[in-house]
């Protein structure tokens, strides 16, 4: 035990020899772990959050498709769907997108009925919302975009080109941003008028199913009843989100790979370019009675000290970045053209798998690159150091 500590002691002396180089390395390494862990933690937390919250999504959402495209759905379908055994409430949804050219933001307009709004409690201002016309509830993001407060009015241009104003009756609290940030909730009648939705049609239909086990069969029955519809089950939504937030995809992967490749190049450079000086030093150590295994241990410690400290620092930093500060560095990158973007206040989910992935992408290659090249040098006969 003491022997190991002494070798560690000497490894630290060796690291101190190139103090600035190693500090720079420590910094770069920590930064890499910081970036990677921020991405991993953020995507994982988003995914978990989505899956937790979307447990509340409708059991079945029925869309109609025409020629493979989403189309308005006839409200009369509801009556037939209601006859399917196990089905509870069946309601039309009226919703769509509204692009505000002045602010350049996209909002989601959602029609509300009295029933569903009775359940909404996380509201600022008045929490009631009768089905009266000309009133809306907006998400925090929308309120911010309009610099609006409860009681203010917002203007929306309808499909008929006429401006409609709505009084803000309530604003969703920040805590619900992830669900409500870009929402403008109007009464169903207002939405229909605004979007000029023909009577007898809705955007889609949500179906309640009492027994979760029956959701799949009900969906199949709906599909059989109305072959032109696409019933989306809650299970599917969850599955979508399960695989949606995926750090292995797209740009993140590109960034990820770039970072890892740069890192591996660094490591490889180190691995192959064991300098003459380093080789000589290994020879000296051998000559004065260090065993090959001692030298490997020395190299192990050198790698371990650097990578463990970097790993901890980077991971802790990444965690604080994502969960204490709402990932400001990443969200600016992720925001893109979304003008309305929620403040990410996420539940700090962490999984052992992520930490393992991080370890394998950073610490393991680094350790390998310090130990492996020394291997050969440590194995050769030490008499080379007798000559210049």
């Amino acid at each position: 035990m003491r022997r190991h500590l002494m070798i560690l002691e000497f490894a630290l002396s060796c690291l101190c020899r190139r103090k600035y180089k190693n500090l720079a390395l420590l910094f770069a390494f920590s930064l890499l772990v910081f970036i990677l862990s921020s991405i991993l933690l953020l995507t994982y937390a988003l995914k978990k959050e989505a899956i937790e919250i979307l447990q509340g999504a409708p059991e079945i959402t029925v869309q109609r498709t025409v020629a493979g495209r989403h189309e308005l759905i006839p409200v009369e379908y509801i009556n037939k769907i209601k006859t399917i055994p196990g089905v509870g409430k069946v309601e039309p949804r009226y919703w769509g997108y509204y692009y505000d050219p002045f602010i350049g933001a996209n909002y989601t307009l959602l029609g509300a009925n009295r029933d569903m709004l009775r359940k909404i409690e996380i509201l600022e201002g008045k929490s009631f919302f009768s089905e009266q016309k000309g009133v809306c509830i907006v998400g925090k993001g929308v309120a911010k975009a309009y610099f609006a407060e409860v009681g203010d009015r917002i203007t929306i241009i309808g499909a008929d080109g006429i401006s409609y104003t709505f009084k803000i009756a309530g604003i969703f609290k920040t805590a619900s941003d992830i669900l409500t940030n870009d929402l403008i909730i109007l009464s169903n009648d207002d939405i229909k008028r605004l979007f000029q939705i023909p009577t007898g049609f809705a955007t889609d239909i949500v179906v309640e199913v009492y027994n979760p086990e029956e959701i799949e069969t009900v969906a199949e029955k709906i599909k059989k009843l109305f072959p032109s519809t696409r019933p989306i089950t809650r299970e599917e939504i969850l599955r979508t989100y399960e695989s949606l937030f995926d750090w292995r995809s797209g740009m993140i992967l590109t960034m990820f790979i770039a970072a890892v490749v740069a890192f591996v190049i660094l490591a490889w450079d180190k691995a192959t370019g064991l300098s003459a000086e380093e080789r000589r030093e290994i020879g000296i150590l051998k000559a004065i009675g260090w065993e090959s295994s001692d030298i490997m241990e020395l190299k192990f410690w050198e790698g371990f000290v650097l990578s463990s400290l970097s790993f901890f620092t980077g991971l802790i930093g990444g965690y604080m970045h994502v969960f204490f500060f709402g990932a400001p560095l990443l969200s600016t990158a992720l925001k893109g053209w979304s003008v309305v973007f929620p403040t990410l206040k996420l539940t700090p989910y962490v999984s052992a798998y992520q930490i393992l992935v991080l370890l394998f992408l950073t610490v393991v290659p680094y350790m390998a690159s310090t130990i492996v090249p020394s291997w050969k040098a440590a194995m050769t006969e030490p008499d080379q150091v007798m000559r210049g």
Binding site: L8, A57, H70, L117, K119, I122, S176, S249, M251
Partner: protein, 101 residues
């Protein structure tokens, strides 16, 4: 006695990490109520998706997207940039044949 300094720092960082995991554990538990609220809200709104990327239908409502949403089946879906940088195509577009079902 450099090794003592290192071991000290190592232990401090390890404790910090453990502290963070503990914090996670506690927060997850304290947020149970909040999550319940959000779930209810989701139910109340009949929301099917999170309001994160408001750029387009296929990023705002990934679960509702249809086959005609832009470039859905591109494997790296960079056209969703930057939303696509964390979103991969929904599973029903990963294998086109299955999606037809």
């Amino acid at each position: 006695m450099k090794y003592k300094v290192f071991i000290g720092i190592f232990i401090v960082e390890l404790l910090l990490l453990i502290g963070i995991l503990l914090f996670s554990y506690i927060s997850i538990n304290t947020r149970i109520d909040e999550m319940k609220y959000l779930r209810q809200l989701c139910q109340g709104l009949t929301a099917t998706d999170l309001a994160i990327w408001t750029e387009a239908r296929y990023t705002r409502h990934p679960s509702q997207t249809d086959i005609f949403s832009a470039f859905q089946d591109c494997p790296s879906c960079l056209e969703h940039f930057p939303a696509g940088s964390v979103l991969s195509p929904p599973p029903h577009f990963r294998r086109p044949l299955e999606a037809v079902k």
